[in-house]
Amino acid sequence: MILIPCPWCGSRDAGEFAYGGEPTPRPDPRTATREQWRGYLYLRNNVAGWTTERWYHRMGCRRYLTVQRNTVTNEVRQP
């Protein structure tokens, strides 16, 4: 199991966290077109390499945090 560096609790097993994936900015709901909105819902970069992603420390401090992870090697670092 990989370790996720929690800024509050230190490195913990990834099993303590819920994976949140790439954060996607929420379009302004008053002006967003369907295309933009569905891009927000469905499109992800799916990078093979370093990516920034969100995790939720479900079993620990219950904080959402941001981590950089290489999706090929699974190396992680704090942004």
Partner: protein, 382 residues
């Protein structure tokens, strides 16, 4: 034309292009050896007991093509029709099983909900007692389901396509797709360039990266799916057993090994190294189903890559780039669809029209908001 990916989808597409449409000027590009991706890493389970009528029709066609594949290719792919059980451990999954059974029956596919006593008859090793942590309330029994020798399918298609003049280039990696004024003009590879007006993306695990080369964005996220196999023991398990609640599926090969799979890993990754928690969880769940297997030894674990789409249905057909077609997003069920995907993609390429069988699977559906309902049940199904 160029097909990217030398797995069952790419090779089947090439084969049906040649066989059904007489198109043999086809190059299949494979960056490693044929069948080295998902085609050689899946657990080779076949079934057609899907939830939506679209899904049922599509996979039923695939199963029928599989059934006669050995004779057609003159290559024994060892299709073993041994029945497929999807266990329901709670009320809501039992309800979903009934729903699936009824949709299946309405489409002429053999599926039935059966109770614990009948399950016990099919699988004497199963703990069907009420004391189980997750008692088995029933199962969706699908007699046409079974397993096949996955490598043989790949080799059989490759051999037959090759015999009709298709070129299969192994160790050849796609490095670029040339698009001019919205249409494909050629591809570049690690071993040279090819001028072509049609490129079909039949990859799994790398489908977004290939699509990005053509400037097409896909609603896909790549997750590892792990599998494992035990040492052989004398045959004792005749059916394929799936439990969505326990995230496990198991079958026994003709060689006596148990082959296990599970749901995809909990986070997106391109890593196929595998994890310890996968085998721990897998073993725990298998023993919940069949407690007397504690002494059976796990021999090997591996992982493949699954391209998950938002609605658990594939993306097939044309894209906004003229000449760039996709046959991707196969999640955890790509192998089952190999023959029908090849047949319909070949038709799509050859005729320029989208066959009715795959009309629900177009890329536009995400922008249009008309998703496919396989996710409706939110049940794990393999």
């Amino acid at each position: 034309m160029v097909i990217v990916g030398g797995g069952v989808h790419g090779l089947a597409t090439a084969y049906y292009l040649a066989r059904n449409h007489g198109i043999t000027n086809v190059a299949v590009l494979e960056k490693s050896y044929i069948g080295s991706g998902g085609s050689g890493r899946n657990t080779a389970i076949l079934r057609s007991n899907y939830l939506t009528p679209d899904g049922v029709r599509f996979y039923d066609r695939s199963l029928k093509l599989y059934e006669r594949l050995a004779a057609e290719l003159n290559y024994n792919v060892m299709f073993s029709r041994r029945g497929h059980l999807t266990l329901a451990h709670n009320d809501s999954s039992l309800r979903t099983m009934r729903w699936r059974a009824e949709v299946n029956k309405a489409s002429g596919v053999d599926s039935e909900v059966i109770g614990p006593a009948d399950i016990k008859k099919l699988v004497p090793f199963m703990d069907t007692s009420e004391r189980a942590r997750y008692p088995i309330l029933g199962a969706l029994y699908h007699p046409p389901g079974g397993i096949i020798r996955h490598d043989a399918v790949v080799w059989g298609y490759a051999r037959a396509a090759d015999a009709m003049g298709v070129h299969v280039h192994q160790d050849t990696e796609l490095t670029g797709i040339d698009v001019e004024q919205g249409r494909v003009t050629g591809v570049r590879t690690s071993r040279g360039s090819i001028a072509t007006r049609v490129v079909v993306n039949c990859t799994a695990g790398w489908s977004t990266l290939v699509a990005n080369l053509a400037g097409v964005r896909l609603p896909v996220q790549t997750f590892p799916l792990q599998a494992a196999v035990t040492e052989p023991v004398r045959p004792f398990l005749d059916t394929v057993v799936v439990s969505g609640t326990l995230h496990v599926y198991v079958s026994q090969t003709d060689r006596g090994e148990l082959v296990f799979g599970a749901s995809v890993d909990p986070f997106a990754s391109y890593s196929t190294r595998g994890t310890l928690e996968f085998v721990e969880g897998l073993a725990g769940h298998v023993l919940q189903l069949m407690p007397s297997l504690s002494t059976l030894r796990l021999l090997r674990q591996w992982a493949g890559l699954c391209d998950m789409t938002p609605d658990f249905a594939p993306i097939m057909g044309h894209t906004e780039v003229d000449g760039f077609l996709v046959d991707v997003g196969w999640g955890t069920y790509g192998f089952k669809a190999g023959p029908v995907a090849g047949e319909t993609m070949a038709e799509c390429v050859a005729t320029g029209r989208t066959p009715e069988l795959i009309s629900a699977f177009g890329l536009r559906r995400f922008a249009d908001g008309s998703l496919v309902g396989e996710k409706g049940a939110a049940a794990v199904g393999h």
